[in-house]
């Protein structure tokens, strides 16, 4: 029982990170129909930049803030200088551009930062909390709390603000959005910025537990993508549930089977979802009306 509790707590922690990465995918996909495979690099940039700014004797919260702002700038630049010039290209081309951007960002990070692993001091110390026989890291709670905070904030934004409705409107009917005067390019700009910030926060929160390096983004992007697929691509609640579920399945596999198979689980899930339930758990099957 204590063992199970231990696996659940670590599964929820990584799952929360996958959920945030999945939300980043969802937001950009909603606004622009693009799957942004540079999403993992936002996570890497958040963690790495916080580490390196903090090294220059900047207080940690300030370093984290700077990292989030710079990552937002990178997200905006990605849209403006890489995606926007190719506007009108097919989705496959745009997706390839994001893969190119992800390789580019990884290369830059390797030069600007370094190739080593780095960590950050945990937010609330590192003494594990004993709970039902399981040892829970205080940082796990920070990750879960932070993720919950972002999810609620995003939900309030979409449900309660006119800008949020404009994002939904753009995603529901781009032609109509343009005809009522919504500058849809700005909406997509905005979705890239918010996705970048969400990614950066995820990177900052997870670094004290999982460490960071210039190339952590690749695997995180794939896991986040698997989460979004599992929940149903384009569904925000789906991304959250998919992320948590994927984290749990991974932790159980690592605990009860072998940690060697941990990463394979995400790919297995992508395959199963594609074959058995392409619309995901929360997604609606796409019905073309003629």
């Amino acid at each position: 029982m204590a063992e199970l509790l231990q696996f659940v707590s670590s599964g929820l922690t990584v799952g929360a990170i996958y959920a945030l990465v999945g939300l980043g995918f969802t937001l950009i996909y909603k606004a622009s129909d693009i799957i942004n495979f540079a999403q993992g690099e936002f996570v890497m940039l958040g963690g790495m930049m916080t580490v390196f700014v903090a090294m220059a004797d900047v207080p940690l919260p300030v370093a984290a803030l700077i990292a989030a702002i710079v990552t937002a700038g990178v997200g905006l630049a990605l849209h403006r200088f890489a995606i926007e010039p190719a506007r009108g290209a097919s989705p496959v081309v745009l997706i390839m551009i994001t893969i190119g951007a992800s390789i580019f960002l990884r290369g830059i990070a390797q030069i600007v930062f370094d190739k080593r692993f780095h960590s950050l001091p945990p937010l609330f110390g590192s003494d594990p909390i004993q709970f039902g026989g399981a040892a829970i890291l205080p940082q796990s709670l920070a990750v879960l709390g932070g993720a919950a905070f972002i999810v609620i904030l995003l939900w309030l934004f979409i449900e309660r603000t006119l800008l949020g409705k404009a994002v939904i409107a753009t995603s529901a009917n781009r032609l109509a959005a343009r005809l009522i005067g919504i500058d849809t390019r700005q909406i997509v700009d905005f979705s890239f910025v918010v996705s970048a910030v969400i990614g950066a926060i995820a990177g900052i929160l997870i670094t004290p537990i999982a460490l960071t390096s210039y190339d952590v983004g690749t695997l995180l992007a794939l896991k986040g993508f698997a989460a979004a697929m599992l929940g149903g691509i384009g569904s925000a609640p789906g991304a959250v549930v998919g992320g948590l579920l994927l984290g749990m399945i991974e932790a159980m596999t690592a605990g009860y089977l072998s940690s060697n198979y941990k990463d394979a689980v995400a790919f297995l899930i992508i395959l199963i979802v594609l074959i058995a339930i392409p619309q995901g758990l929360f997604g609606r099957a796409k019905i073309e009306r003629v």
């Binding site: 006119l162 409705k165 409107a169 032609l175 109509a176 343009r178 009522i180 005067g181 919504i182 500058d183």
Partner: protein, 233 residues
């Protein structure tokens, strides 16, 4: 108010507008009739800036607008009710209307919303329902209401009677006439030529991307070719 000169437009390499020239004066209802594929919707999209043009000029209130983005044209006062309503299906009736005033956000919209509700009383009972759950007629009312929320000076209407029951068609036509009486200038695209000619001041007949005929609504109605091809007489 609107003057279009020699506008050409293409989808890829296929040119669909071969130099269209027309004008709409303040306070007029001008109708554009023509068969399927004549280029009516393409022309409206070109005026709204969601379809690129390959040549010609579009002037609104004397100002060239053909290089301005779509949202700037809405800000100048050109609103469109697109073909097939194109509502934001997952959003409520209220949110569809609020978004119609996107460029005036922050302004007090109470009186505008009250005006739309007076025009289309049936919308009020559907206030919180998603637009996708409305009937065809209600959707058309909402689409017109959403376009009016931008406070346009020129309203472009694309096939507002399409797919509506006959009594609904009459209602929409009477609303269009009431909007004209309020001083709105209207460019109306219709396949239902008798209905359009009944309320229009002037008309253009568009055939395969060219203006084939133009004149007062009465003249067009009396034209032998129009009577045969569009009025079924």
């Amino acid at each position: 108010m609107l003057s279009i000169e020699n506008v050409t437009s293409a989808y890829g390499r296929i040119e669909v507008l071969h130099g269209v020239t027309l004008h709409v004066e303040v306070g007029e209802i001008v109708t554009l009739i023509g068969a399927n594929g004549a280029g009516k919707t393409t022309l409206l999209h070109a005026i709204s800036g969601v379809q690129p043009i390959t040549g010609g000029t579009i002037k609104f209130a004397g100002m060239p607008i053909e290089k301005r983005p779509a949202h700037a044209r809405v800000a100048f006062g050109i609103s469109q009710v697109p073909e097939g309503r194109q509502l934001f299906a997952p959003l409520s009736v209220k949110d569809n209307l609020r978004l119609g005033a996107w460029l005036r956000r922050g302004a007090d919209l109470k009186s505008d919303i009250a005006r739309i509700c007076a025009l289309f009383p049936m919308l009020e009972s559907m206030w919180e329902k998603p637009a996708g759950a409305l009937s065809g007629g209600q959707q058309q009312m909402l689409a017109i209401g959403r376009a009016l929320m931008a406070k346009p000076r020129l309203l472009l209407l694309d096939e507002p009677s399409m797919g509506l029951a006959p009594n609904m068609v009459d209602h929409v036509l009477s609303v269009i006439r009431a909007l004209k009486d309020d001083g709105l200038t209207i460019l109306l695209v219709e396949q239902n030529a008798p209905a359009a000619l009944a309320i229009a001041d002037r008309a253009y007949v568009l055939e395969t991307g060219r203006v084939a005929l133009s004149g007062t609504a009465a003249d067009i109605k009396a034209d032998r070719r129009v009577r045969e091809a569009y009025l079924g007489l």
